[in-house]
């Protein structure tokens, strides 16, 4: 990437840190040509943060200077090497300079002094390297030399000013601890800096977790939550829960859920490498639904890792036989592996390590976790959250489809059905519920979310049969979705109405026929009347004719008519 500085709209120019996940939270990176403060207790990874920033930059051709007040330069280089960062190599290329700036503790102090020495070294080096990135680790050590609060403050001003006037992007680390005195002593740094990032390490239930939080970013928006992060052998890695979608690869193709009807509701099935949450109350069929998927996936020659906290492998295999799901062939062909344990058996870190080991060794296509609700028993809700987030993240990065089961109450709020505030990590969510209607319990399914797929938002009734899960056709009547006996009743009611309507049509039709017949009869009567009329008229006409003929004869006989052909013929015939 050529553009090292991101600049959207008229926003503050930023420099990406290229620390996994951090730039998402910072919405681009740390402010360019300004000072960023990293505060945190011992062992939080402040130094790693600084080194990683410079290392990533140097790798892209941006020189940097690392000023260490605490550790020896050799130690810094050695530590970096454990992360796979060869600083010495970059130093040789003049892309990095590790400056050891620890003041000999035996140094005597007599009278006032200034930091000109430090500035002069930095300036000289920066000029010769054409460097604009500097990390000072740790600024509190430098300032403490003065042992005078007001002086510390003013010297920091000088330093800050000096950096900004030279257009240097700087990161300064500062110790903060639970010790209140130290926290307030260097509080002023937070006020003066342009960006403040706080690292935190806490131990809860014997398990240490790390959190990162941006507390300030002048002129920019940023992710305001606390985000878990890990220090791995590749450096810092932040898990921005609400932004995981940005970092992970896009979701894969749809993969069948094992049930055709469900596939159609989901808009094609689950997505590969996505996170599917199946939540429901106890007995709703969560495990059955998950195993429906497993059976079909294994039959397609895909591998599944089943992490179970609820039942033993034997119990699951036996129980699944009743709805007609046989997992034994999949286990035999090593397409299905169970990893079952009691959540209380070990700490969440150990659970996580076991899962990670199995994932890297077995390389499953899919992972089923039964159940989220049991994870809490590893310690606390927080512990469970940590475990899940880290596991999910690991799966997403390895393109593994995650199917999480969760036992919930009646609530259908997605944030509550996931239980652990992991809802944003969830790509598809299926809620299985039981509805009581007219004295019976019916099973209902609702697809709450199916990211990236058009899905049905209708409640569906389903049955658990000897042949697995069977979805009934959606019934949408006047009274909404109906289930069970109510559904049958409604259907009966509907057919009665239908029959009634048909009957009425028939009635009308007959009536019409009758009317038609009546009309015909009337027509016939009229016709006969007309006919009679006609007959009468004819006879009258006949009479008239006869009368005329009689008159003509009489006239001819008197000799009045001579050349009348008619009369002639009459006469002739007569």
């Amino acid at each position: 990437m050529k553009h090292e500085t991101t600049n959207d709209k008229c926003a503050l120019p930023k420099i990406p840190t290229r620390i996994a996940g951090l730039d998402d939270i910072l919405q681009g990176g740390i402010p360019e040509k300004r000072t960023t403060i990293i505060s945190g207790g011992p062992g939080c990874g402040k130094s790693i943060f600084g080194i990683e920033f410079l290392y990533n930059g140097a790798k892209m051709g941006h020189p940097g200077i690392y000023v260490t007040f605490e550790e020896r330069a050799d130690a810094v280089r050695q530590n970096a090497l454990t992360m796979g960062w060869d600083l010495e190599e970059l130093e040789k290329q003049n892309l990095l300079f590790v400056m050891q700036a620890n003041l000999d503790p035996s140094t005597l102090i007599s009278g006032d002094f200034s930091l000109t020495g430090l500035f002069s070294i930095i300036e000289g080096k920066a000029k010769s390297m054409n460097c604009t990135r500097i990390v000072v680790d740790a600024i509190d050590i430098l300032l403490r030399m003065y042992n005078d609060f007001n002086r510390e403050r003013s010297e920091y001003y000088v330093l800050h000013d000096w950096f900004s006037s030279r257009k240097i992007t700087s990161i300064m680390t500062v110790k903060s601890s639970q010790d209140h005195g130290l926290a307030t002593r260097y509080e002023f740094l937070d006020f003066m800096a342009d960006c403040v990032i706080h690292l935190d390490q806490r131990v809860r239930e014997q398990i240490s977790t790390r959190r990162i939080r941006i507390t300030k970013f002048r002129g920019s928006d940023f992710g305001r939550n606390e985000y878990p992060y890990v220090i791995s052998d590749k450096g810092l890695s932040i898990i921005p829960i609400s932004m995981s979608g940005l970092r992970h690869r896009p979701l894969g193709d749809p993969v069948s859920s094992g049930n055709e009807s469900l596939d159609s509701i989901l808009g094609g099935g689950y997505r590969r490498a996505s996170c599917v949450l199946i939540a429901g109350i106890t007995g709703a069929g969560k495990t059955t639904l998950a195993n429906t998927f497993i059976e079909k996936a294994c039959a397609r020659d895909e591998s599944v890792l089943f992490i179970g906290f609820e039942e033993s492998e034997e119990a699951i295999v036996t129980n699944m036989l009743s709805p007609g799901i046989d997992l034994r062939p999949a286990i035999k062909s090593k397409k299905l592996r169970f990893l079952t344990s009691l959540p209380e058996a070990m700490g969440s870190e150990e659970h996580l390590m076991r899962a990670f080991n199995h994932i890297s060794d077995y390389k499953p296509d899919h992972l089923v976790l039964d159940a989220i609700s049991a994870c809490e028993r590893m310690g606390s809700q927080q512990t469970a959250f940590e475990y899940l987030i880290r596991l999910l993240n690991h799966c997403k990065e390895n393109d593994i489809t995650c199917i999480l089961l969760n036992q919930t109450t009646k609530s259908m709020d997605i944030h509550q059905i996931s239980g652990m505030e992991i809802s944003s990590m969830v790509d598809s969510a299926i809620f299985l519920g039981m509805v009581e209607v007219g004295g019976e319990i019916n099973r209902m399914m609702l697809v709450l979310k199916s990211r990236g797929l058009a899905h049905s938002n209708q409640f569906r009734e389903y049955l658990i049969t000897d042949n697995g899960i069977e979805l009934l056709d959606v019934y949408v009547g006047e009274g909404g979705v109906l289930t069970g006996a109510a559904r049958q009743e409604q259907e009966a009611k509907e057919s009665a109405t239908q029959r009634m309507r048909e009957h009425r049509i028939m009635q009308k039709r007959q009536e019409l026929n009758h009317k038609e017949a009546a009309k015909q009869a009337k027509i016939a009567a009229l016709q006969s009347e007309i006919d009679m009329f006609k007959a009468e008229l004819d006879s009258l006409m006949e009479e008239e004719n006869i009368w005329h003929q009689g008159r003509d004869i009489r006239a001819r006989l008197r000799g009045k008519i001579k050349d009348d052909p008619i009369n002639k013929s009459i006469l002739g015939s007569v």
Partner: protein, 95 residues
């Protein structure tokens, strides 16, 4: 710590300053005062301006100015500041 010796030790000092910064000017005056009154002609004072020679600052780890390094008599001792506390400086020089 006092160390009696027959022959006078040779004093070798390096004073790192930053141009004509107020503190630096003061330090030069203060150290000259002390040296000239106590060990005149028996010392060698090198004044290094780090503003023109930043490499020297790197080499000697000069973070703050003014900074005086007493190279000899050994062991090497470092004093930072304007050297206004003559007692402290004399003690460091073992005078």
């Amino acid at each position: 710590m006092t160390q009696a010796h027959e022959s006078d030790p040779k004093y070798k000092l390096k004073l790192f300053i930053a141009g004509n910064e107020h503190n630096s000017v003061q330090a030069i005056n203060n150290i000259r005062d002390i040296l000239d009154t106590r060990i005149k002609d028996r010392y060698k004072l090198e004044i290094v301006d780090i503003l023109t020679d930043f490499q020297a600052a790197i080499d000697h780890g000069v973070l703050v100015t003014p900074m005086l390094i007493i190279v000899e008599p050994s062991p090497e001792t470092t004093i930072v500041g304007t050297l206004s506390d003559a007692g402290k400086v004399k003690a460091a020089l073992r005078l």
